[in-house]
Amino acid sequence: MSNAADIPARPAFDLLGALKSAAVTAVVAFGLFSLLIGVRTDQGPTGALELTPRLGALGVIVAIAFIGGFVRALFAGEPIDFAGRVPNGLKAATALVGRYFGFALLAFAVAEPVLFYHNRYFLDLGIQVLTYVMLGWGLNIVVGLAGLLDLGYVAFYAVGAYSYALLAQNFGWSFWICLPLAGFLAACWGVMLGFPVLRLRGDYLAIVTLAFGEIIRLILINWQSLTGGPNGISGIPRPSFFGIPFVDEENGFAATFGLEYSPSQRTVFLYYLILVLALLTNWVTLRLRRLPIGRAWEALREDEIACRSLGINTTTTKLTAFAMGAMFGGIAGSFFATRQGFISPESFTFSESALVLAIVVLGGMGSQLGVAVAASVMLVAFELFREFSQYRMLVFGLAMVLIMIWRPRGLVATRTPSVFLGRPKEVPAEIVAEARQ
C-alpha cells in the first residue's frame, strides 16, 4: 500500500524550458514558412512573376507555432490519459451501443432514401458514400485481410468503369450482363497484374501497384481511339428497372407502377442498387473469412514464412485476394459508370487510391464495420469541406498523418476470431503482427 510520502510531488511547470522550446519551434516555423507563405508569387501582366509579401500571414503562423510549442512543452511530462478519464459507466454504455451499432447503421442505410426522398443532395451523397464503402470493403480483402499493400486500387475501379462503358455502348448489352462481365474482366486484370508482382516485399509491392495505377491512367488518357482520351466516354446507357426505363413516358417506370413521375426514382433505384452490391461484398467477405481461404489470408498477413511451412501455396492465396479485391473494385466501377453516364481519366487518379486506402486503414484491422464507418465519416467530411475545396486535401493529408501517429491501428482496434470452441475472445490490435519478415 502506498502512502502519501511515496506519491511523487507534482513537478512545477518549467516555464523557462517551455519558453525556450517555444522559441525553437517558432524559429523552425519561421524557417519553413518564410519563403513559401511569407511571399506570394503570381504572374503579372507581362507574364513574369511578381512578388507580394504576406508578412501578416507569416506572423500569425509563427505566433501559433510559438504558442503551440509552449503548450506542448508545458504538458510534455504528463501524457493525457484519455482512456483512463472516461468513467466506467460510460465505457460500458458505449460497448453496448457498439454491438448494435452495425445493425443501426444498416437500418439507417436502408431507410435513407425514404427519409430523404425529396432531397436530391442527400440521395446523391448517400450513393457516393455507399460507393466508397464498397470500394473500402473490396480493398479491405487485399490490405486488411491479406495484408498486401495495394496503392493502385483505382486501376481496377477504372477497368470496371471503362469495360462497362465500352461493352454497353458497343454491344448494347443490358446492365445486368455488363456489370458482372466488367467485374470478371477486372478480376482477370487483377490476376494478370498480380502474378508477377505478388512475391515482392511490402514496400516494393506498394510502389509497383502505384506504378500500375498510373500506367493505366496514362494509357486511358493517351489511347484516344479506344478510350476517348481526356474527354472520356459519354452517353453511357443508364440502368433500367429490369427492362423498364426510368422515363416520363407510357412505358416508363412511373407509369407502369402507377406513380407520379419524378427524376428521384432513378436515383433511389441507383441507391438501392449500390446498397445491394455493397452488402453483397460484405456478405462474401464475411463468409470467406470463415472458410480456409479467408483464414489463409489472415495467416499470410501475420507470417508468410510460417504459411509456407504449413503447405499453403502463398502465391495462389495472394492472387485470390488480389483478384477478389479487383473484382469488387471493377463492379463498383461499373456502377460508377452507369450512374454518371460519363467517365473520364480525371476520376481515376492516385488520390482515389490514397482515399480508399486511408478508409481501410482508418477502419482498422480488416474490420467490416470499421471500414463502413470510416468511409461514411470521410465522405461526409469531404462534403462539408466542399466550400474550402482548396484546403480540403490539405486537411485530408494532415488527418492521415495525425491518425497514424495517434491511432495507427484504426477505429476498430480488435479482431474477432473466425472460429472458437467456447466464447469468442476479441484479439487486441497490438498483438496482431503485421507482415513479419
Binding site: V39, I207, I219, L394, M400, P408
Partner: protein
C-alpha cells in the same frame, strides 16, 4: 548520328537531376528500410524555395546572377534540409516501431500535405522563370543537326559530379559517414555500440533533402517552369532510378538516375513523347519483377 549524340547529352543532364533525388531515396531506404514517399515533394519544395529566394534577392537588389544563384543554392539547401528534418521528426520517427504500413501511410499523407500546402500558398498555376543561364557550346558542327551542349547542362553535370564526390568522401571518411554505414548494416547493434541512431537517421534525411533541393534548383533553371505537382512524377522516376541502380547503393542511385534520364530522353526522341512517363513507370515494374536487387545492389538472403 548527330541527333543521337544530342539526345545523349540531354539524357545525361536530365539523369543527373534524377540521380540527385534518387540518392535521398536510397539512403533512407538503406538506413531504415522505408520508402520516403514524400521525398519527391521535398524536391518540389526545394524548387519553389529556390524560385522565391531568387526573385526575393533580385527584388532587394542582388543583380549579379552568379552571386544570386550561389546564395539561392545555399538558402534552398538549408531550408529543404529543415523540411526534411521536420518531416522526419513529425511523421516518421513516432512510427519507427509501429507496423509496416504505418510509416508508408504517414508518408503518403505527408506527400499530400506538401503538395497541397504549396498549392494553397502559391496558387495552382505554373510558375515560370526566364532563362537565367544562356548560351552553350557547339560540339559537332553539321548541316543537318548541330550537336550542342548548353551552359546549364554543363553546370548540372559538373555540380552533380562535385556533389557526388563530396558525398562519397563524406560517407567513406567522416564520422557521420561511418555512423550511417553502421546504422545501415545493423541499427540495433549500432545503437548498442554508442552511435546516436536518432541523430544519424535525421541527418540522413537532412542530407537527402539538401541534395533534392539542388536538384530542384537545377530543374528550375533547366526547364524554366515549375508547379506543385512536379514532385510526384519526378519522385516515382527517381525511386525507379534508386531501385534500378540497387537500393542502398550510392553509386547505384546515380547510375540508375543517369540510365532513367537516358531511357526517358531516347524514348521521347525516337518513339512517342506522350507515353514517356509510361516508359518510366514500366521500367520500375520490370526492374522490380526481374531484378529486384538492382544493378549494383547486394542480394538479400531470407533469414528463417
Amino acid at each position: 548520328m548527330e541527333y543521337f549524340c544530342q539526345q545523349l547529352i540531354n539524357g545525361l543532364a536530365l539523369g543527373s537531376i534524377y540521380g540527385l533525388i534518387a540518392i535521398g531515396y536510397t539512403m533512407v531506404y538503406g538506413i531504415i528500410g522505408m520508402i520516403n514517399f514524400a521525398h519527391g515533394d521535398i524536391f518540389m519544395v526545394g524548387a519553389f524555395t529556390a524560385l522565391i529566394a531568387f526573385l526575393a534577392l533580385v527584388a532587394i537588389g542582388v543583380t549579379a546572377i552568379p552571386l544570386a544563384l550561389f546564395l539561392v543554392l545555399l538558402i534552398a539547401m538549408a531550408l529543404s534540409a529543415l523540411y526534411g528534418q521536420v518531416v522526419e521528426r513529425i511523421a516518421y520517427r513516432p512510427l519507427r516501431h509501429s507496423f509496416r504500413l504505418a510509416p508508408l501511410i504517414s508518408a503518403i499523407g505527408m506527400s499530400i500535405i506538401l503538395q497541397n500546402y504549396v498549392q494553397v500558398a502559391q496558387g495552382a498555376r505554373v510558375k515560370p522563370l526566364p532563362p537565367l543561364i544562356q548560351g552553350g557550346y557547339t560540339l559537332l558542327q553539321s548541316e543537318t543537326f548541330p550537336v550542342q551542349v548548353s551552359n546549364i547542362q554543363i553546370i548540372i553535370m559538373v555540380t552533380t559530379v562535385v556533389l557526388m564526390a563530396v558525398f562519397s568522401w563524406l560517407v567513406a571518411n567522416t564520422r557521420l559517414g561511418r555512423d550511417m554505414r553502421a546504422c545501415e548494416q545493423d541499427l540495433k547493434m549500432a545503437a548498442l555500440v554508442g552511435v546516436d541512431t536518432d541523430r544519424t537517421i535525421s541527418l540522413t534525411f537532412v542530407v537527402g533533402a539538401a541534395l533534392a533541393a539542388v536538384a530542384g534548383l537545377m530543374y528550375l533553371l533547366y526547364y524554366g517552369v515549375i508547379d506543385f505537382f512536379i514532385g510526384f512524377v519526378a519522385g516515382v522516376k527517381a525511386f525507379t532510378a534508386a531501385v534500378l541502380g540497387g537500393i542502398g547503393s550510392l553509386p547505384g542511385a546515380m547510375l540508375g538516375g543517369l540510365l532513367i534520364g537516358l531511357i526517358e530522353t531516347f524514348w521521347s526522341a525516337y518513339f512517342s513523347i506522350e507515353y514517356k512517363d509510361v516508359a518510366a513507370f514500366s521500367i520500375l515494374v520490370i526492374v522490380l519483377i526481374f531484378l529486384p536487387t538492382g544493378i549494383l545492389g547486394r542480394p538479400e538472403i531470407e533469414k528463417v
